[in-house]
Subunit: 369 residues, 2 copies
């Protein structure tokens, strides 16, 4: 169905009619000039993230439902990174004419799944036409008690640096997706060359045979064998709200926290800059999945670079007082990768062979250019 057949208000009605706010803080959701929230007992956390087609995502290898799930998780991740609980989401979409109502419904299906997972209410948004690519902006609102909020600026000398899950896997997933995309386009190009040649020779039998080959190309199946975990990390990331619960139960209150969206090096530098301190991390301690390591080798890429600068992991990076060392040790899926130093000592990584290198952040350039 075409969007213009429904019109703006018809489309919004169709997408949002089943949305029923679940949170007490949501006083009025979709349907007025602004949503109305009540946060009389908590601090309000607010964050916005924008995602542009062709830069942050590529619809040739992510479908609308996964895309929505991913961008919702990426945005909620910012609230978790403050040690907060996400509660509301506002969804703005700039839609090209090529999109059908069904595409937007798939997108909302993905949003609804992500919101259901963390009990978040969709409370409003804006839908506009776009002459060009698909543009998405999500605003996530969350809550935390004042004393629970964890800023980037709270790290102290001797604090331990910890990270959840593993790093670099989402980035290697992207490499595989891009490789398969280029394999596909290469097949299409070779096929087109064959067709042009047959046309030049006016070879009808050859043209007929080529039609069958075309079907084979249309049925192209990317080769993800053994790489499922990496693909999943790239296409279906999970925000680490679970870790916050784990930390709370273990009686650990991190001194600083950030989520890893641009890459470990970049995020660590944010913490150090805002906490006015330095850091040492150990290459050997950076958590890396086996598939990530194997795939880096296949692609002839440096594993540590992928882990340091890959981005899109949406893991949590945080610091804890050194006294929490044993408590952290007992928790699964959290690795201690180094420690906080005086600011004057700079930000360094110590390699497996004992060399020290200054941490370089490539947040912007790796992902966005």
């Amino acid at each position: 169905m075409e969007i213009k057949d429904l019109g703006k208000f018809g489309l919004i009605e169709r997408l949002t009619k089943n949305i029923v706010p679940q949170n007490a803080s949501t006083q009025q959701g979709i349907g007025d000039d602004a949503a109305v929230l009540n946060y009389s007992n908590k601090e309000v956390l607010v964050t916005s993230k924008m995602f542009m087609e062709g830069v942050q995502f590529d619809l040739t290898y992510i479908d609308m439902e996964h895309l929505a799930y991913k961008v919702a998780m990426a945005t909620m991740s910012n609230i978790f990174a403050m040690n907060g609980q996400p509660r509301q989401l506002i969804v703005s979409l700039g839609l090209g004419k090529r999109f059908k109502v069904e595409d937007i419904e798939s997108f909302y299906a993905g949003l609804n799944k992500a919101c259901a997972k963390w009990n978040v209410d969709i409370i409003g948004g804006d839908t506009k036409s776009s002459y060009t690519g698909f543009a998405i902006n999500l605003t996530c609102i969350g809550e935390a008690s004042k004393e629970d909020i964890i800023y980037r600026s709270g790290a102290n000398e001797t604090d331990l640096i910890c990270v959840t899950g593993d790093l670099g896997s989402a980035y290697m997933g992207l490499q595989i997706l891009e490789r398969e995309k280029s394999v596909y386009y290469q097949q299409v190009e070779e096929y087109n060359n064959k067709v042009r040649e047959a046309q030049r020779n006016n070879d009808q039998a050859r043209l007929k045979a080529l039609q069958k080959e075309r079907t084979a190309i249309d049925d192209f199946q990317p080769d993800f064998a053994g790489k499922e975990y990496l693909i999943d990390r790239q296409l279906k990331p999970e925000a680490r709200g679970d870790v916050l619960q784990q930390l709370r139960q273990a009686g650990i209150h991190p001194t600083s926290m950030i989520d890893v969206s641009d890459g470990l090096a970049s995020e660590l530098k944010h913490i150090c800059q805002q906490s006015h301190c330095g850091c040492r991390i150990y290459e050997k301690n950076i958590p890396i999945d086996y598939q990530t390591a194997v795939t880096c080798e296949e692609f002839n890429m440096n594993l540590t670079t992928a882990a340091l600068n890959g981005g899109e992991d949406y893991e949590l990076l945080f610091t804890v007082p050194i006294g929490d060392h044993e408590k952290i040790d007992k928790l699964e899926n959290i690795k201690q990768i180094g420690y906080i130093t005086k600011e004057s000592l700079g930000n360094y990584i110590i390699t497996r062979d004992g060399n020290e290198f200054e941490l370089q952040a490539q947040g912007w350039s790796v992902k966005e250019n």
Copy 2:
């Protein structure tokens, strides 16, 4: 200066280094994963608006500073339309490679002007590259006491329908801008034809003469004589927070309210639908500026259609109990244009010659296709 010379973080630092939060509700502004706000004594209002280049704005006739001022006002207008006070703004930009650092600085200059006018803090945002057009998303957060909030749904039978300022002027301003744009492009095309002809004839003297003509075209000045008000309404709209103060001082509490962004007809239908009522408005009472009327005649357009469906006026449309009739009468710049009826009586406009026509909303199609 190129954006890549500064990098993402350098750009953000440059744009935001002078921003100092002014509101007590802003606990932590720019610089962490999320902003932290405190609204312990008020309800929180949140709204997001997206603006896509080529659809909601055209950089051939609006500069970055005016554009920013306009989109900020449009977004704050949504908070005023709830009878709230805007307090914070979150700015997401998708930037094409053609933009320089200076362009974004101009944009922020416009944002800062709009924010200074209503004492609003810029508390965060997101900056991404765009392969295509310029995409803007603003999220505005505001506050109101629970009892002060005015929804679209509160209109009652016999209530008076009121509107601030005048309608249709922003739309007629757009018509003039588009006319001047096409005059300019026509001159360029004619010029190019002359050059091509001279080249065919290898007429060097003519080519030299044409170079002078080119300078004249480059110095093209659009003809806005006598239309300044309309151009201003289109390029520099003002959100009507002033009217809320006026109403409060006069002891008037509207029963329903909305801002006129899509056009009077569309907004009035929203109020009627959500309040489960109907309406009668009088064509003769719709406030229209003299320049709007003259320009409609020039363009051979129907004046009432422009006022009903033009959009982008950012005036406030609201209803008050009929007992407030005299109080409203005393206020400048507020016109009573009709009254609320039973739902079964539908939504009608009564023309100057006494005919009744059902109100047709064209919000989406007029502005966005």
